[in-house]
């Protein structure tokens, strides 16, 4: 049981125990640098340990800082350098929780890895799928969308069927010290004080960029092209009061940011790279979600002939999402997750191209 020191994983551990499982709590130490809270602060590890003690389960801390640096922080920094906006929480799930921890658990003889995510695992047509958690406001299926069949058979989400209110009520009933603890927010290795700018500025050179309109006329300047995200409206150095203008394009190499009105962001299609599929490619009607708490919009997913796999669109391949209604372009590097037409099961997902 991955115990972060938050209320969700605390209650998840209690649920597993109540269901008769033998449980060992593991806190992963991922980040050795400054942190406001997130997964790795000593105070959170203290909470995790105290919850484990109260539940009467063993608790260990595994040091995965080197893996976290290699698979999450390093790529996060590198992506910004290349003008891409990654989602480090998803990469952490992919490489740490459901790879490194799962591998360690396997090595140590555990039958399953459980986490406190608000998501479920369901069977459908002989395959397993990640499905949305019971609480629509807290659903985290988007951030665990990448689980392959093998992991789906040995992963458990004990609180996936509960609402957040249920979870807090259960924690309070059990007298768990984490019952009223606020949810963690944002990226664990970025502090409120410094933000992305300080974090990235210490690791890569931040370059100023020109801000131009769609005709190429300079309308402003920004201090760091690496911090500009496609679709963003604020913080690109434009005077207030005028019509709303959005970032339509970021050319990192040329250090140029193009701004314009919202219509310039709308697309009929969205290419998706580095696909993972729960049970192989599934074409046709889907719902598509492009951010952790965004809406899932109807679309058709179809093979992309330029995927290098002859249009197969398989594992690691490329597909094309064709929107029913035009949608805003997704910033490269963000996860694009495909749900079945009922918007419940995760069919697959990849990175916006």
């Amino acid at each position: 049981m991955a115990l972060s020191g938050g209320v969700d994983s605390s209650v998840a551990a209690a649920e597993l125990l109540a269901a008769g499982h033998q449980v060992v709590g593991i806190t992963m130490r991922l980040w050795g640098g400054d942190s406001d809270t997130g997964c790795c602060s000593v105070a959170d590890v203290d909470d995790a340990r105290r919850v484990a003690q109260q539940l009467g389960i063993d608790h260990l801390v595994f040091n995965f800082t080197e893996d976290f640096e290699a698979h999450v922080v390093g790529p996060y920094v590198d992506a910004h350098r290349r003008g891409i906006t990654p989602n480090p929480c998803i990469e952490c799930n992919r490489h740490l929780k459901f790879d490194r921890l799962a591998e360690r658990a396997d090595l140590l003889g555990f039958d399953a890895v459980a986490t406190g995510h608000h998501a479920r695992i369901v069977e459908h047509g002989g395959h397993r799928y990640v499905a949305r958690g019971a609480d629509p406001a807290k659903d985290q299926s988007y951030v665990v969308h990448m689980l392959p069949q093998r992991e789906l058979t040995r992963t458990m989400f004990p609180i996936g069927g509960m609402t957040k209110a249920d979870v807090r009520a259960r924690a309070a009933a059990l007298g768990l010290r984490t019952a009223a603890k606020p949810d963690s927010q944002d990226v664990c290795f970025i502090t409120d004080g410094g933000g992305r700018e300080a974090f990235l500025g210490a690791r890569i050179p931040l370059r100023p960029a020109r801000v131009v309109d769609e005709r190429g006329a300079e309308v402003g300047r920004v201090a760091a092209v690496e911090l500009v995200t496609l679709g963003q409206r604020r913080g690109v150095g434009l005077p207030g009061g005028g019509p709303k203008r959005y970032v339509l394009a970021v050319d990192s190499d040329a250090a140029t940011v193009v701004v314009g009105d919202e219509a310039g962001l709308l697309r009929n299609t969205q290419p998706v790279l580095a696909m993972t599929w729960a049970a192989g490619p599934q074409w046709g009607e889907v719902r598509v979600q492009c951010s952790a708490h965004g809406m899932a919009h109807p679309a058709v997913v179809e093979p992309d002939g330029a995927d290098g796999q002859g249009g197969a669109g398989g594992e690691g391949g490329r597909v094309l999402v064709r929107w029913r209604e035009p949608q805003r372009v997704v910033s490269p590097g963000q996860s694009v997750v495909l749900y079945d037409p009922t918007d419940q099961r995760v069919l697959g997902g990849g990175l916006a191209g």
Partner: protein, 381 residues
Amino acid sequence: MDRTYLDHAATTPMHPRAVAAMLPYLDGLFANPSGSHRFAREARAVLDDARDRVAGLLGCAPGEVVFTGGGTEADNTAVLGVVERHGGVAVCPAAEHHAVLHAVEHLGGRVVACTSTGTVDLDALTDALRASPPVGVVSVMAVNNEVGSVTDLAAVAAVVRREAPRALLHTDAVQAPSWLDLRALTPLVDMVSLSAHKFGGPKGVGVLVAKDGATFVPRLMGGGQERERRSGTHNVAGIVAMTEALAATDEARPTELPRIEALRDRLVAGVRDALDGVHETVAPAAKVAGSAHLCIEGIENEALLFLLDEEGVCASAASACAAGAMEPSHVLAAMGVPRSQAMGAVRLTLGRTTTAVDVDRGVEVLVGAVLRLRGKAAGRP
């Protein structure tokens, strides 16, 4: 679950004599020895007797014994207090315990390279002592807490006296009392740190020996106890228990050394006979009798320690961070052990209560765990 305790370098159980010695001062004679009544004077006499006995066991004068709240406080006091009083640069080897290393780094001192056994490289030490600005304090541990290697303190002292005659020489001897006669060690240096719980005393009490001239600014100020070198009400029960433990350790050393050395050799031989790819980090001749430190290929020590723990075998690897996670060993890094090999490092340390049964069970469980981890690793896609 049966417990097989092979982590005596982390802490060793209290000696029964030490437990018995401290009890009267927890409830009966509880007085503060700094008080002005006869009850307090009784406690003061107990404290003075303890100081005399400790001085005799260490080979120093009673006035040179400063009772502290443990080894870390003694180390911090020696490094920080000497530099604050006398100025100069602090110097230590890279494989020191963090209680010294972090204090030296805090002062912006010089950290000196080590040899492949984890002891200070005398040529590098010479360079550090010759560099400018001049050195105020040199701290070199007697026995390394992770890998067990023994420093030739006579050789270190010769270099320090020759190259930096004005510098004070401190040794963190926290891991030494069970294995080395401290009467031979204390005369070589100006300051010595000890920690009671490493030799059968209670936690939270230690000694800093500070010879004549080895003055320092105290870390704790207040009531002026310990001749104004360490304020704070005396931990009489702890000091008495530490004294008794030190005496018991000293008496038993001639018979315990060969007994524990034989057990340690049996442990290492048992593991190496059963497994390929096991490297003894420091050769037996270069380390203390109770230390077995192995680097085992094809495993990660975090996983190994979990399986040992499941079977009730208490062992360790490197030190843990504030959150409780294992940190990569700075000692192995200082020795030039590659990270890939250090991943498989495990420390098994023996002590007074260790028996052949412990050793044989430790070998059996360790070998089984390594084979299991290696088998699983080989079977994965």
